[in-house]
Symmetry: C4
Subunit: 279 residues, 4 copies
């Protein structure tokens, strides 16, 4: 709030539009930004489809320019309206904003570079910025908290899966001959993970009886192992889940009413729910 006074009036106005969502203009800006981010991602996708690119090249390029110019103006506006521009430039979103703005300019310098396509995909990351405003991000932070606290358990789990894959993959390499696709240990490990995670492409598949037997073991293992992350995450979720009013759903008040000995009061109860006595 304070910093606003220091800024000159028009900088202030820009700042409000870009960084705040509670004014009508601020909301409009956010909606236009989301729209252009999604548009830019769709453009990158469509350009990669050869038939579409050949037929509608000019339309795609024009839209690309519209997006780029908007992103450029937005980047400059952010730089001007903020008090510490350098902090923004080197922040996570600052880098994403910069990287997602320059590809079209670069394409005129480093002509034909396909790598630029990838850079443009980073634009999608910007949606995270806007989603902060969306009401269900409270849910997201709850999910995040649950996942963060089960981090260590999940690390152990992934470690075990990897060890298992290396051992099983090596075994499969030794059992199967090269003709069925198990041409090297890394490739066999790749196959093992494809099987263990129940993806099962079928581009590599065991042909020998022993290989199919071991594959069966790996599948049942994978089928059972999936229970472990699920169990971990479910237990964490149930700990982190709160009721609609933001309070834990299960009341753990252990007080008993001094007058009627009723128990199971709400955590914030001051009177007995049965006789009305003060607790």
């Amino acid at each position: 709030m304070k910093e606003h006074k220091i800024h000159s009036g028009w900088k202030n106005a820009i700042h409000e539009v870009i960084y705040e969502a509670d004014t009508p203009l601020g909301k409009l800006f956010d909606i236009v930004l989301i729209f252009l981010i999604v548009l830019s991602v769709i453009l990158v996708m469509l350009e990669s489809v050869k038939e579409i690119d050949q037929q509608y090249h000019l339309i795609l390029l024009s839209l690309e320019w519209v997006v780029t110019i908007f992103f450029t103006l937005e980047y400059i506006a952010r730089l001007i309206s903020i008090r510490k521009p350098w902090k923004y430039v080197f922040s996570f979103y600052g880098i994403i904003d910069f990287v997602s703005t320059i590809p079209l300019y670069l394409s005129y310098i480093l002509a034909g570079s396909q790598v630029l396509l990838a850079v443009r995909a980073f634009r999608l990351l910007r949606i995270f910025r806007i989603l902060k405003l969306v009401k269900f991000m409270g849910e997201a932070s709850q999910l995040k908290a649950a996942l963060r606290s089960s981090r260590a358990k999940i690390a152990v789990f992934i470690y075990v899966v990897l060890i298992l894959s290396v051992i099983m993959g090596t075994l499969m390499y030794l059992i199967e001959d090269n003709e069925s696709g198990f041409t090297s240990i890394p490739r066999s490990i790749y196959w093992t993970i494809v099987t263990l995670t129940t993806v099962g492409y079928g581009d590599i598949a065991p042909q020998t009886n022993l290989g199919q037997l071991l594959a069966t073991v790996i599948m049942i293992l994978g089928y059972g192992i999936i229970a472990v992350p699920t169990g971990i995450v479910t237990v964490e979720f149930s700990k982190h889940t709160k009721g609609a009013n933001g309070k834990s759903l299960v009341h753990t008040n252990t007080q008993a009413c001094p007058s009627c000995s009723a128990e199971g009061h709400r955590d914030d109860a001051t009177n007995c729910y049965k006789c009305g006595e003060l607790l």
Copy 2:
């Protein structure tokens, strides 16, 4: 109940048969309706199998007419017996009923249109109407309540899965050459979702070492990510499920205290937990 008196006698009778299931005739009607709905769906399926259609075309067409005539009569009966026919016509089930009745008539106007086949599939949706009467719909409403209250969390989850798919798909497009099937970014994203959800068709599969490495990461991610919706739904289910003693584990008392307006009382509360006032 009241509206019955306003109706004339035979309209009343029809209304009872069609809209209520507690009379013998009402039950019979429902059973015949279910049977014909299922029959009509099977007919649509069988017609799509060329060999069967060629051999038994006449039988299929006759049965099709039986179903259509019944549906037509039922639609007219519903229109007549109800007090506000227009409300029914434009209701969800009204539209389904109409759409599922007309395809055979249309086939004589717009000869040979294959699109009509699709329309007939809508008949299956009508089963929802009848299932309301089935005893285990209490279970269904419980499931529905659990899914509804985890809606926001699942939306966040699907959003994250989609973002991840776009980024990973674009990366795979850049890593893999076109020959292994990653011919465009949308196609790569399609492949990523096939892999992330552990479906794994194998029509597109990475051939390069780097591609297989990234594929491995996507698989393990997908294998772990599946824990998230499971965790969400399980926790919601456990909230909506009743305890062993037949009482809900979560108190759902919607009373407000007449004196201090406090809410969230225990289900068996007789006094306000805040001010002690009688509820």
Copy 3:
């Protein structure tokens, strides 16, 4: 116990060996029976492998005769030693025992019938009988109880999955042309279930852009839907799980100590765990 006295001595002895597992002979009988059941299943499997059948036909046939003779003797012994033989003959296990004994005899009457192979597979069902004795069947009955009480919910779930498959399958049939494998609606529904359950063979796979888009929706649906049975079963399990001592793990004693008001006593507590006062 009583019926033993009525039986003559040797019938009694046979009854004890066959129906009871707590004598040394009874245990030996059970072990031999398990061994022969497993052997007979392996024999059926090996016979179906052409190379093995050609090379070792005589050995397989001899072992087949050993198994069949033992099963015949066992069947007769069961008939003799039991008081109500007809009840056994028409019981579930009686029919399985009969059906698993006759195939070899039948093969001399109805020469070369391949259907007999299937009948022999029923032998494996007999293992259920013996497993009753195994200590971890207590666990199995717990699992069974949990599954039984979630029966109605699972029925609703499977119904929704089937409806979804029919609608999605029909849509895919209309979108995809016949060349990519979607040659009829039943086949498209088969593909939809393959995709929805994340099996994903890849023998049929969408080729058009719209088809791949819809396939993506089906996959994410399937990926999310799997959370529903998991949630149902988990919640049921947590209700049916008891502690090591056979009592519910969570004590729900709501008594408070009359002397020190301590709460959270064991369900079977008679004295306060804090002050020792009688509850």
Copy 4:
């Protein structure tokens, strides 16, 4: 502690470096060991890729020698510094250490034996030894406890899955003709497990209508059955997980009452819940 005094000084010093991780040298040793174990595994993998092996054979062999010499020295050091060397030699880790050291020596005796590759993979098992020191092994032991106590339930589950696979596999063998890949019962069972676990390679896939119908049933079964291990593990996890207040949700007090020998007291109990005696 005591045994250190008995050892001579330098043996003591070696013992501390190898067996303890709390001195700087001990930590360094552990890090070098982890690095070399991982290196040796990567070497085994790279050697199996023909192109890499041909081009960099000398570098790989040299690194192989470095690893082998270190492992040899470590093995000898372990033998010398420990009081009961024979106990170590025949212990689980003693055998792994020996087996993971000798392959390179053996390759000069039994020239060209590919089996040696497999033996080297055992080196990875050694990581388990070091991971004991890593902080998140507390988590691992919690996971292990949860899995161990659900062992019996999981055994029942796997048994049911196997029985189901044998029966369904045999049915599929009888339904499908040999041309679609169901050439023998073991192969059909392999396919059934591939389908039931939702892996779905697609190398074998049903072609007949009846086969596809049964396949559909197997898929939906598999899709539902996956809920069972997940439910089991989740419930076990929630038992082994501590509550929000840092106390275990399940009381694990192992005290017995000195007066009446009652067990299963609350963790914070001071008096027996049965006779009121002080604990």
